[in-house]
């Protein structure tokens, strides 16, 4: 493989594809030096990314602050019952009170409705439709489709509040005015606006102001949207591409589902930024330990609930009225403790096998390692007591001795002596250093980065490095990249991009200015790969057959055309700024060749090149109509056609944008 092809290959596989100029840069420095540098992300400055991320506060807050500023529905319901205290500081208090009012209104409507026949409700849930701020502002309306808000209320609001007056205020004044509204009225206010007016609610505000206003409407969604937005911004703009690619690898390996329960989203920023990313290129055992003690995983795989059947907690409950799991610190009175009655509707406390199983099957040794159901049970016992403190008590990892199963445990042939929290660490160490784990992780890496069917020799070589380096991922990756297999993939072994690869690489290759990353996040949902959006613990498959489907191709082709012709709001492509000289007098043939070089680095096959040009040039009049149509985006069925604020198209001729879209939608750009 020659220099340029090598540089492109390593950027395609070990980064999210090249930006204009990247291939030349890597070629000049050499692949080895690039790799050396990428393995030390701390040495790479990432200022451009930091600047973009400065727009978001929520994803960088600790879970406790996050849940205070953006309370979950559960906390709000608790507050309504007087069981959670409302923050005394502003603007947090305003957010809580707004949510309490909105929740109460919703409950009242529900009660009214329960006497009426149910109506069909086609509105999309704001959390599902996913278009970031726009969706949240729209969601204020969608949430009640089918239950029209009483007109008189809207009228009243219109009467009380000078709606257009508020919109015309400066950002600071508008912010104050919105905060000063009666709790919950902001929802009515947003509902009373035409869709086109809604972005004006938060226009020009600082990130903190914007987050607060959106939190008045739906605080949990702020957390979810911003977490996912920042994740995508990092993938697109980070100079530490290898760390990002490996972070995404581990986020899939240690899959978390954001919709698991109401608490889960509040732990995802921490999981991504503190648990996974810092260890993505480090020692596997450190990563495994960090994941095992992360509230995100403890919640997702239910371990926070798991109780040793012979633990003090369980034995005490045998004779005591019930203390529901998760609500600790309210010991039953001595008198009650004597009653030999167990509440009828309560299950006996005991283990939950979920984490114990997936730890072995998916996180470490793999399903073929020969463990048994009994091993799963014993592993679950080892981790009893590994739980999450309630939000009021910090909400972090906690080892609760009272829930821990006493006695020794035998897991995959190892006897683990009674030792409280230490037992779990011992088992994690046994698993992290097992040859089966070395093999399992190496296989997974090779499938992701080399081939759907990696050779045994390659995987063995990587596993050997894994074992001899205490699971040092940098060393394992070096072994993989320095293997001939990495460079010699024949055609049929080419890897097809996953939706994440595809969307991120398209944004990179076009040098897109992404100011509303949630538009791209939403696109991933359409393409079947929502971020932290797969419920089952095995994550997404990384093999070609998973991602080559009719629906997938259609979504990608439409996305490519919309992207290149600037039909995705908040994602701006400036073709004029792409590298290349002398375009002023270029013929269509020259333009097409130039675009091939920019987007595909000149790798399109000759036959395809001819075919594209022929079609493009054969019927100019008809094509111009098509080109106009694509650019106008008024073609009814296109998912990008409606409701999107269009950014001005560029002076460069429209044909160039369509050709660029065609190349991004081409089969050549589906490979990596």
């Amino acid at each position: 493989m020659a220099g340029q092809a090598k540089a492109l290959h390593v950027l395609d596989r070990m980064a999210f594809g090249p930006r204009p100029g990247d291939v030349e840069e890597v070629e000049a420095m050499g692949v080895n030096r690039w790799l050396d540098l990428q393995l030390h992300p701390e040495k790479i400055s990432d200022d451009a990314l930091k600047q973009r991320m400065a727009d978001y506060n929520a994803p960088f807050m600790d879970p406790q602050t996050l849940i205070l500023k953006f309370p979950s529905g559960n906390l709000i319901r608790q507050a309504l019952k007087g069981r959670a205290s409302i923050p005394s500081e502003q603007p947090d208090q305003a957010v809580w009170k707004s949510q309490m009012a909105i929740t109460q209104q919703r409950q009242e409507r529900k009660n009214e409705q329960s006497t009426q026949p149910t109506q069909q409700n086609n509105a999309k849930d704001a959390g599902q439709s996913g278009a970031g701020q726009a969706a949240m502002l729209a969601g204020a309306e969608n949430g009640t489709a089918g239950t029209p808000a009483p007109d008189e209320r809207r009228q009243k609001l219109r009467g009380d509040v000078d709606v257009s007056g508020v919109l015309n205020l400066s950002a600071d004044q508008r912010y104050e005015a919105l905060l000063a509204m009666q709790p919950g009225d902001i929802q009515e206010f947003v509902r009373s606006l035409a869709p086109a007016e809604r972005p004006g609610v938060i226009a020009g505000m600082s990130p903190t102001q914007r987050e607060t206003v959106l939190a008045l409407l739906n605080p949990r969604l702020v957390v979810v949207n911003e977490t996912e937005s920042v994740r995508l911004l990092q993938d697109i703009y980070s100079e530490r591409q290898l760390q990002r690619v490996m972070t995404e690898f581990w986020l899939n390996h240690f899959n978390i589902y954001t919709g698991k329960n109401e608490r889960e989203p509040y732990y995802l920023p921490q999981f991504e930024h503190e648990v996974v990313a810092p260890h993505a290129l480090g020692k596997f055992e450190d990563l495994l330990d960090a994941v095992a003690t992360s509230p995100a995983m403890l919640l997702y795989l239910d371990n926070e609930q798991s109780v040793g059947p012979n633990s003090p907690f369980a034995l005490r409950r045998e004779h005591a009225p019930v203390e529901s799991p998760g609500q600790m610190g309210s010991p039953a009175s001595a008198a009650n403790a004597l009653l030999p009655v167990r509440a009828k509707k309560q299950s006996a406390p005991g283990i939950n096998e979920n984490y114990g199983r997936e730890l072995m099957e998916l996180h470490t040794v793999g399903v073929n390692a020969g463990y048994t159901q009994q091993d799963v049970i014993e592993a679950a016992k080892v981790f009893t007591g590994w739980t999450v403190a309630p939000p009021q008590q910090g909400g972090g990892f906690r080892f609760d001795e009272r829930r821990h199963e006493p006695g020794p445990k035998v897991v995959i042939g190892h006897t683990i002596q009674e030792g409280g929290e230490q037992e779990g660490l011992e088992l994690l160490h046994i698993l992290a250093t097992s040859p089966a784990t070395a093999h399992f992780i190496s296989q997974e890496l090779a499938v992701r980065f080399v081939s759907d069917n990696p050779s045994t020799a390659l995987v063995n070589r990587m596993a050997k490095t894994f074992l001899s380096s205490d699971g040092d991922m940098g060393k394992v990756l070096r072994t993989m990249i320095h293997s001939p297999e990495f460079w010699s993939a024949p055609d049929h072994e080419n890897k097809i991009k996953t939706p994440l690869d595809y969307v991120v690489s398209a944004a990179r290759v076009t040098n897109a200015d992404v100011t509303q990353p949630y538009r791209l996040v939403a696109e991933l949902k359409v393409m079947g790969m929502p971020l932290s959006g797969t419920e089952e613990p095995n994550g997404y498959a990384m093999t070609n057959d998973t991602w080559a489907s009719t629906s997938e191709l259609i979504n990608r082709m439409n996305f490519a055309l919309a992207l290149a012709s600037n039909r995705i709001a908040g994602v701006e492509v400036s073709i004029d700024a792409w590298p290349g000289e002398g375009r002023a007098d270029a013929t269509p043939e020259q333009e097409e060749s130039w675009l091939e070089r920019v987007i595909l680095n000149g790798t399109i096959s000759g036959q395809m090149h001819e075919a594209v040009l022929k079609t493009l040039l054969d019927t100019p009049a008809q094509n111009q109509a098509a080109v106009n149509l694509v650019l106008a985006g008024d073609n009814g069925a296109s998912p990008f056609a409606t409701g999107l604020q269009r950014y001005g198209t560029h002076s460069a001729d429209t044909r160039v944008a369509v050709m660029a879209g065609l190349l991004i939608g081409s089969p050549d750009f589906q490979r990596r």
Binding site: E353, G528, I554, N555, N558, A611, V612, L629, N635
Partner: protein
């Protein structure tokens, strides 16, 4: 034969269950002409409940006292079960199934599943969908091979919509030689709009895919453009369900609605596959209400909506549900259930001899359980699926569909009549 097995005729339930849900073929088939040729026009819908649904709380063995001992907090109280036959009863959230049962269109197979002992979601789904439990090397899916095994239709020019998989990607069950269309959203299944002026853009892309050196992309590209063309002719953006059918909100209801849409558009759909996720209730599963109940309501409303929407055409449709394994008989320490073994399958169809729970009940007493904890399997799930594709699709080569199973007609449970 065909006439007499009609539910309505047998129990005269017609009058009492006269909700809007009874298709007119039930009333007319009593005097109707002979059934159509073998396998002709028959369609199959396969649903996969991903995450291991709790079969014991879907079809409750309410006469088993041990069921109530093992599930102190999540059991469905006897007086709230929708009794089916004095022994089994439906979870109350499956109320929409009751009329279908009463009309004898719904059959239930209990204590069924894949014989492989794995309790891994991933492996169990993979084995079930490949149709070769225990063999990982199988690359294609059982439903794709069932199409290959069809005797009658194999020679006909196949529609690209012959096999449809709802969602962004083709389900494992449909991987294989016969092309399958993945259908994320019918209304958006087009390349940059429906306007005929967009054709050149679409045709350039088609040319590019035709010339791709990667055969996977070349093949999928060809299927894509052909399917788009066919679908375009049916005005897919404008669909309203018939007979007042209502679908629940969310992806499953959407999938069922789109299956009905595609089937009614006469695109040559023979098999359709849809997923419904969210069954892995390790924690706080709930009983009459709660997490499982919500999932079941979604399931039954989606299916009932589809059935009503299909109307008369439901006569030629058979729908079968499956899930990778069941859940442990005993509830766990956190108000949920851990991974188990046998499960329940539903079969719904115009030709189905329903109103009956098929299969052998292995019992729930501790000594009757699989590995002392799970419902034992008495019916290999391949016997259930084999019967559908043999009788509905005319698939004959069972060794192709389910290698190793050594399946023959004698293994079928008989929930469908011979010679549909």
């Amino acid at each position: 034969m065909v006439i007499t097995r009609r539910a309505v005729m047998r129990n005269g339930a017609m009058a009492v269950v006269g909700t809007g849900i009874i298709p007119s073929f039930l009333t007319r088939s009593m005097f109707a002409a002979e059934p159509s040729a073998h396998g002709k026009n028959q369609r199959v819908v396969v649903l996969f409940q991903r995450g291991a649904a709790d079969g014991l709380n879907m079809v409750v063995p309410h006469a088993e006292s041990y069921y109530y001992q093992a599930r102190t907090s999540i059991a469905i109280p006897r007086n709230q079960v929708l009794d089916l036959d004095g022994f089994f009863g439906l979870h109350p959230a499956l109320a929409e199934f009751k009329p279908l049962w009463d009309q004898k269109q719904l059959a239930i197979i209990h204590a069924t599943g894949s014989p492989d002992p794995t309790r891994s979601h991933f492996d169990a789904q993979d084995f079930m969908e490949s149709g070769t439990p225990g063999y990982k090397a199988t690359t294609d899916g059982w439903l794709n091979r069932a199409l290959q095994a069809e005797r009658e239709r194999a020679r006909e020019k196949a529609s690209p919509f012959r096999a449809v998989s709802m969602g962004a990607d083709v389900a494992r069950s449909l991987h294989g030689k016969i092309p399958a269309v993945a259908m994320g959203n019918v209304a958006n299944f087009t390349v940059d709009g429906r306007d005929p002026n967009a054709a050149p853009v679409s045709s350039i892309l088609q040319t590019m895919y035709d010339n791709s050196t990667l055969s996977l992309l070349r093949g999928t590209g060809a299927e894509t453009f052909e399917a788009v063309k066919m679908l375009k002719a049916t005005d897919p953006a404008h669909y309203s369900p018939a007979n007042g059918a209502q679908y629940p909100r969310g992806p499953f209801g959407e999938s069922m609605k789109q299956i009905a849409q595609l089937m009614k558009a006469d695109l040559g759909v023979e098999v359709a596959f849809a997923d419904i996720g969210g069954w892995d209730h390790h924690f706080n599963e709930g009983s009459v209400d709660g997490q499982l109940a919500r999932s079941l309501r979604n399931l039954s409303q989606g299916i009932a909506g589809f059935w009503q929407d299909m109307g008369d055409e439901a006569e030629n449709v058979t729908l079968v549900s499956m899930s990778e394994f069941g859940r442990a008989v005993h509830e766990n320490g956190t108000g949920g259930t851990d991974h188990g073994h046998a499960n329940v399958m539903f079969v719904l169809g115009g030709k189905v001899q329903g109103g009956k729970v098929y299969g052998q009940w292995p019992g729930l007493n501790p000594e009757q359980l699989y590995q002392n904890r799970d419902l034992a399997i008495t019916t290999d799930y391949r016997r259930v699926l084999g019967e559908v594709v043999w009788k509905n699709l005319g698939a004959r080569d069972m060794n192709l569909v389910f290698p190793q199973a050594q399946l023959n007609q004698g293994d079928f449970l008989g929930y469908l009549p011979a010679g549909i």
